[in-house]
């Protein structure tokens, strides 16, 4: 039975029609709405690659049924900032060159931005704790921590 889900994505009304409302939000964003900032990393809530903001809270979009996003505010990496108006953390990622392959960067930035929204001046320990469930296999962690601290200092 197909069903239409309506939500606000990156500030605009968006709707997707799905066969199965249990489909994770991640697939709606990537395949139906063309927002490929969030990535599929594990589909298990273990790595953070798929992180988006749901009503401002960092959320694993691979774990959220698209039906549960009905009427809610979704922000993806594309909506966080743009080259013209970057989020301070995006600018800090560039300044610190905190990316290797970048597959994890979506999760790092979305998780880090949620931390900064709640805790504008975190300590290095707080940054590491906030990102404890975000995996990076390329080893960018030292730079990611520096980038979050830089964004906090510049905000």
């Amino acid at each position: 039975m197909s069903q239409t889900v309506t939500m606000t994505v990156n500030g605009r009304a968006a709707s997707v029609t799905v066969d199965d409302p249990e489909m994770p939000l991640l697939y709606a964003l990537r395949n139906d709405l063309g927002l490929t900032g969030p990535h599929f990393g594990c589909g298990l809530g273990q790595c953070g690659a798929c992180t988006v903001h749901l009503d401002g809270a960092a959320t694993r979009s691979c774990q959220l049924p698209v039906g549960a996003a009905e009427g809610r505010q979704v922000t993806t990496l594309e909506g966080l900032g743009t080259p013209e108006r970057p989020h301070p953390l995006q600018a800090a990622f560039i300044a610190e060159q905190a990316v290797q392959c970048g597959y994890c960067a979506n999760g790092m930035i979305m998780q880090g931005a949620a931390l900064l929204a709640a805790t504008p001046k975190p300590s290095a320990e707080q940054v590491k704790e906030a990102l404890v469930a975000n995996i990076c296999r390329c080893g960018t962690q030292p730079r990611v921590v520096r980038a979050v601290l830089r964004a906090a200092a510049n905000a």
């Binding site: 298990l44 060159q97 290797q100």
Partner: protein, 730 residues
């Protein structure tokens, strides 16, 4: 050769236009484009269009390491063009020269050096052409901002000189490259060209590729690695909307659907009756299994004097065995590929690190002429060797063929952890003898390693489906660094190449060099302790190479090393601190690295933390210092993860560590602080950076654990359980 001669030979002349898709009569009709790809032609590497924009074509691919930026710098430097006007095309079998697979930290050392020579040849030709048009000798001319400038101020843009046409010129190994003092782009930390798009979600990974008519596929892997599908119950997935087809060929089973979610649902729901298979060894007896595996070949990798006799006659004899667990690549993004058949030709997009090889493998498997297959690299998640990318490309190709539509396949996490090829288990026995003064008189080692070298890793679906394949074992070129960099009077190092290894092997970051350096540098530490010597002083007493000595001396200074023997005495408290050193000259012929690890060990819980890691690094000429530093950091973090946490688990039928809970990766709070000191040698050739640093991490860490606790861990990973067991044994 002067400009006139080249003109007569048609340099930049009519014809040979670099229009992709234009097929010259002389080339086989099956060729995809007329673009040359031979390694000896400038046009294979470089094109300058009518607007003066430069395209570099390289067979090596980025893999997330930033090497694309390095290639951009190299071309911008040699041609004197802004980095912003250089684009890089990587790993497209129709467009790029076959520079070999992207592995071994060879992208700059080999790929970049070939590209640099092509650019240097092009630059000289541009100067000669401008000279003839100016009517001046080329010596007085210079290049600047994509133009040749005469002493009188006249200017000829590259676009005017060659724009849109071919160089038609062989790469000249003697074309002069820029001397160090003239360089302005290379040797500096240019920001990486890919990062802005990646932080704004605009970068297009292979995972993001969408082509018209594309369907989504998933393979359904057997629960036992060698099982055959005896029956497939298509009715079990009939209710899934959008399902297009169930494909079944021996052990290869797959589903194709209109949407990705439908394909995933079908992958989960499909009922298959699989044959039984239990061909894996018992994990608890892995090392017995390795020792009992028939030896296919004994290969002595270094030999001096008679070490056996020297050890027999020594004042003190030591022996030890080191083992290194099976590791998975565990790329952050599961492998992904898209395949399309059109007019009898196959185009395969993947993040393969060896598209030219993949092309041959696909052609063989599908019984197609190789000319009918084009493999295009698109960046994927970072891969640290040959992971599952090629296998996903095969799944996509088989499914696309079955449905007659383009198909995208992305593996699920359990497929990546379960089916990517593995770093083979490695076991190393060592013996040494010391004289009364503690000096090494003899050194012997044997490494039990999977046979094979760096060829192509077999394709999962070809194997499961019983399709034509090469049937090679390709664990990577793993014999290096068993031979020692030190001046021991008598040495024999031997590789015992084993007939088989439990899992399909492939190279994972620093294959062989990591395991061999682990055993060698840790065992040397045991000898230093037995001799009552400081570990750095002990190494320096047997190391002649001045560049290597410099790395060790620098790392001692960088880390504030206090000279004393290990272990440290009289530490109170529950948490013990120590430091350990390690050194490598990569493959004994290139990059020098020394490192010091500082660890904390909780002697009650066995928890081990690497607090800090210091590295000194000499890879000859540095193209981009910040990118080299980032590679070093990444290799340390990833290798600390491997040696503290990672180990494949399996039962008799299949891998059981199928997610990040059962195969954990390092977390932020566990990441050490890293301090890097680079030594740049602009007048030398550039060597690889990346892998060489990973080689020293396991030994530096275990040496530090020994320093802190007096407990010697000889088995990777260094888990709390192993520490506590070893503590009991001391």
């Amino acid at each position: 050769m002067d400009g006139m001669q080249m003109r007569r030979r048609g340099l930049f002349g009519a014809g040979g236009a670099l229009v992709v898709g234009f097929v010259l009569g002389a080339r086989p009709a099956a060729a995809w484009t007329d673009k040359p790809v031979a390694l000896d032609q400038v046009d294979s590497f470089l094109a300058i269009d009518a607007a003066g924009r430069v395209t570099a074509y390289v067979g090596k691919v980025d893999l997330g390491t930033g090497v694309r930026t390095g290639f951009t710098q190299i071309v911008a430097e040699e041609l004197d063009v802004p980095m912003a006007s250089v684009a890089v095309v990587e790993g497209d079998t129709a467009l790029t020269p076959d520079q070999g697979a992207t592995y071994g930290s060879l992208s700059i050392q080999v790929g970049g050096v070939q590209l640099r020579q092509a650019a240097a040849t092009a630059r000289r030709a541009l100067l000669a052409e401008a000279a003839s048009r100016f009517g001046l000798p080329p010596e007085g001319l210079r290049c600047e901002d994509a133009a040749v400038i005469a002493p009188d101020g006249r200017r000829l843009a590259f676009a005017t000189l060659v724009g849109g046409r071919a160089f038609s010129l062989a790469v000249d190994a003697n074309a002069p490259i820029k001397p160090p003092e003239a360089r302005r782009v290379v040797g500096r930390s240019a920001p990486r060209v890919d990062i802005p798009e990646k932080v704004f979600g605009r970068f297009r990974y292979v995972h993001d590729l969408k082509i018209p008519g594309m369907a989504h596929g998933r393979a359904v892997r057997p629960p036992a690695m060698g099982a055959i599908a005896e029956a497939v119950d298509e009715a079990s997935v009939a209710g899934i909307p959008g399902l297009l087809k169930v494909v079944h060929e021996r052990g290869f089973v797959g589903v194709v659907a209109e949407t990705e979610w439908a394909a995933i649902r079908a992958q989960r729901a499909l009922k298959v009756r699989w044959s039984a298979w239990a061909g894996l060894p018992e994990q608890a007896k892995l090392w017995e299994h390795v020792r009992a595996t028939p030896v296919a070949q004994r290969q002595v990798t270094s030999e001096t004097g008679d070490p056996a006799a020297a050890i027999r006659g020594a004042a003190k004899q030591l022996s030890a065995s080191y083992d290194f667990a099976i590791h998975t690549h565990g790329s952050m993004g599961p492998s992904c590929a898209v395949a399309e058949f059109r007019d009898g030709k196959l185009t395969s997009w993947s993040a393969s690190q060896a598209t030219h090889n993949l092309r041959k493998q696909l052609a063989m498997m599908l019984a197609m002429p190789v000319e009918q297959v084009r493999c295009v690299y698109l960046e994927g998640a970072g891969c640290y060797g040959r992971n599952g990318h090629e296998d996903a490309a095969v799944d996509a190709a088989l499914l696309a063929k079955a449905v007659g539509r383009p198909v995208r396949v992305q593996w699920m996490r359990h497929e990546e952890h379960g089916w990517d090829p593995k770093g083979p288990p490695t076991l190393i026995d060592l013996r040494a003898g010391l004289d009364a003064a503690g000096k090494v008189v003899g050194w012997e080692s044997e490494a039990f390693i999977a046979k094979g070298a760096g060829g192509n890793v077999d394709l999962v679906a070809a194997e499961l489906g019983g399709l034509p394949r090469e049937s090679l074992s390709s664990p990577g070129n793993i014999v290096h660094n068993l031979a020692q960099p030190y001046g021991f009077p008598a040495v024999r190092t031997t590789c015992l190449r084993l007939e088989s290894t439990p899992f399909r092997p492939s190279w994972i970051r620093t294959p062989g060099r990591m395991q061999n350096t682990f055993a060698g540098e840790a065992f040397l530490d045991e000898l230093a302790a037995a001799a009552g010597a400081d570990p750095i002083a002990y190494r320096l007493s047997v190391l002649e190479d001045p560049r290597g000595r410099e790395m060790l001396e620098r790392v001692a200074k960088l880390s504030g090393w206090q000279a004393r023997p290990s272990p440290v005495r009289d530490q109170g408290g529950e948490v013990l601190r120590g430091r350990g050193v390690s050194y490598v000259k990569y493959e004994l012929v290139r990059t020098y690295v020394a490192g010091v690890a500082e660890v904390e060990v909780n002697r009650r819980s066995g928890a081990i933390r690497v607090i800090r890691f210091f590295v000194t690094h000499d890879c000859g000429q540095i193209i981009n210092p910040d990118a080299v530093t980032a590679q070093i950091e990444g290799n340390i973090v990833a290798t600390v993860s491997r040696v503290l946490k990672e180990e494949l688990t399996f039962d008799r039928s299949a891998v059981t560590s199928l997610d990040w809970a059962s195969y954990p990766s390092i977390t932020f709070p566990e990441v050490p602080e890293i301090v890097v000191e680079l030594v740049d040698r602009p007048a030398e050739r550039p060597w690889g950076a990346g892998e060489p640093t990973a080689a020293i991490v396991p030994s530096a860490v275990t040496n530090a654990i020994f320093d802190a606790t007096g407990v010697r861990l000889r088995s990777v990973p260094f888990t709390p359980a192993k520490f506590l067991a070893a503590l009991q044994g001391t």
